[in-house]
């Protein structure tokens, strides 16, 4: 009997509901209730709930008033929905929760739903959609304009290098900015895009379809 109870507790702890129980004592009761409502609705639609839980904990840790945390939670829930819709535009496959969370973060970083769709369309093994979107959002957060971010990631994937080529883009832009006096992130990204395009156009490379028709 005891073994059964322990097993049941462990199963509950592994679910989103179990994860939400971690909010108890860390966020005001009204925020915990709101997270539960948003998470229940999100989970039913295949939307990840972990970003909502993290945002609630973050707001409370920073001492943000509850009403402002609630506003941020609703905005994040809307971003997650928008990201899921943008990813569904990219193809028939149902987007996974990691890609949706990364898509929502990309929207927060300044990319548009259209950019998210375009990046999902060019992502193919070994480039996962989630990783591509995370890299793109980091580039956008560094100050690379959205259209240029999409172009840089697209050309890098088209050049056919290993997945680490995409992962290393933010570091390469940072190096370009710190090594050249007065070089902006956009200029550093432009140089990397030209180099990737040259590699992509080299004989033997398969070019992907352009993201913006």
């Amino acid at each position: 009997m005891k073994t059964c109870c322990v097993a049941l507790l462990l199963v509950i702890a592994g679910t989103p509901v179990g994860a939400q129980q971690g909010l108890a004592g860390r966020v005001p009761p009204e925020i915990a209730t709101l997270v539960r409502q948003l998470a229940t609705s999100a989970a039913a639609r295949g939307i990840p709930v972990e970003p909502l839980i993290q945002k609630a904990i973050e707001g409370s840790a920073k001492g943000v008033p509850a009403e402002r945390v609630a506003t941020a939670l609703r905005a994040l829930a809307a971003q997650l929905d928008a990201a899921a819709a943008a990813l569904q535009q990219a193809g028939p496959a149902r987007p996974d929760t990691a890609a949706i969370a990364a898509g929502a973060f990309a929207l927060n970083a300044g990319l548009s739903p259209r950019d998210v769709t375009a990046l999902a369309q060019v992502s193919r093994p070994p480039y996962s959609t989630a990783v591509t979107l995370r890299v793109a959002s980091t580039l956008a957060a560094m100050g690379v304009p959205a259209a240029q971010t999409v172009e840089l990631v697209t050309q890098t994937i088209a050049s056919g290098g290993p997945a680490t080529d995409v992962l290393g883009l933010p570091a390469q832009v940072m190096v370009g900015v710190s090594h050249g006096r007065g070089v902006t992130p956009a200029q550093a990204a432009a140089g990397l895009t030209r180099a990737a395009a040259a590699r992509a156009n080299a004989p033997g490379q398969n070019r992907p379809k352009p993201p913006h028709p």
Binding site: Q54, I57, E58
Partner: protein, 187 residues
């Protein structure tokens, strides 16, 4: 050690941006940011052979009879241990952990000469401002902490003296939804 202008120190603390500095201080500001970025900010990838070495060591130890393996346990003696294990699992499972495919060692550095205490809070420690303290390094005013983080995207901020949330001046940042900025780290 270069003694930076107070406004350049504010830049390093994330309180000012480069564009907000007076033109005559921008070169010094850029230099300070470059110096800070160069202080062990490069992620360190663990050697590919590490997993194999750890597994080999585990196998070697498993083949050696230990005190615990020699100890004869009766079934009912396991109940308290099992309960304690379950409680620990419950504590650790909020929120549910995600399996990490790989980890990266990252060194976080902040120049905060006036600070008495600096900690790090982010998605990797449930935004717990007390969980990850930085320590003073040999260089005056420089605080640092080294963490092993799972590959993926992390958001974080430094917490100065338990109250002031400061984004990492050496990392990109995004709106946190509360009117402040979170630093972003992609591994």
């Amino acid at each position: 050690m270069t003694d930076f202008h107070p406004q350049v120190k504010q830049l390093l603390d994330g309180e000012l941006t480069l564009a907000q500095l007076p033109p005559e201080l921008r070169a010094q500001g850029e230099e300070a940011l470059r110096l800070l970025a160069a202080v062990d900010r490069e992620p360190v990838t663990l050697p590919a052979t590490l997993d194999a070495r750890v597994l080999a060591e585990l196998r070697r130890r498993a083949e050696t009879p230990s005190f615990w393996r020699r100890l004869r346990l009766r079934p009912w003696t396991l109940v308290p241990a099992f309960a304690a294990g379950a409680a620990l699992a419950l504590l650790l499972s909020s929120p549910a952990p995600t399996p990490a495919t790989s980890t990266v060692t990252v060194r976080f550095v902040l120049f905060a000469p006036e600070a008495q205490q600096v900690t790090l809070a982010g998605t990797f420690n449930q935004w717990d401002a007390a969980a990850t303290p930085l320590v003073r390094t040999g260089a005056p005013g420089v605080w640092a902490a080294t963490l092993i983080l799972p590959a993926g995207q992390h958001q974080y901020a430094f917490v100065v003296d338990g109250a002031r949330w400061v984004p990492d001046p050496a990392a990109p940042a995004v709106d946190d939804g509360f009117g402040r900025r979170n630093s972003v780290l992609s591994l």
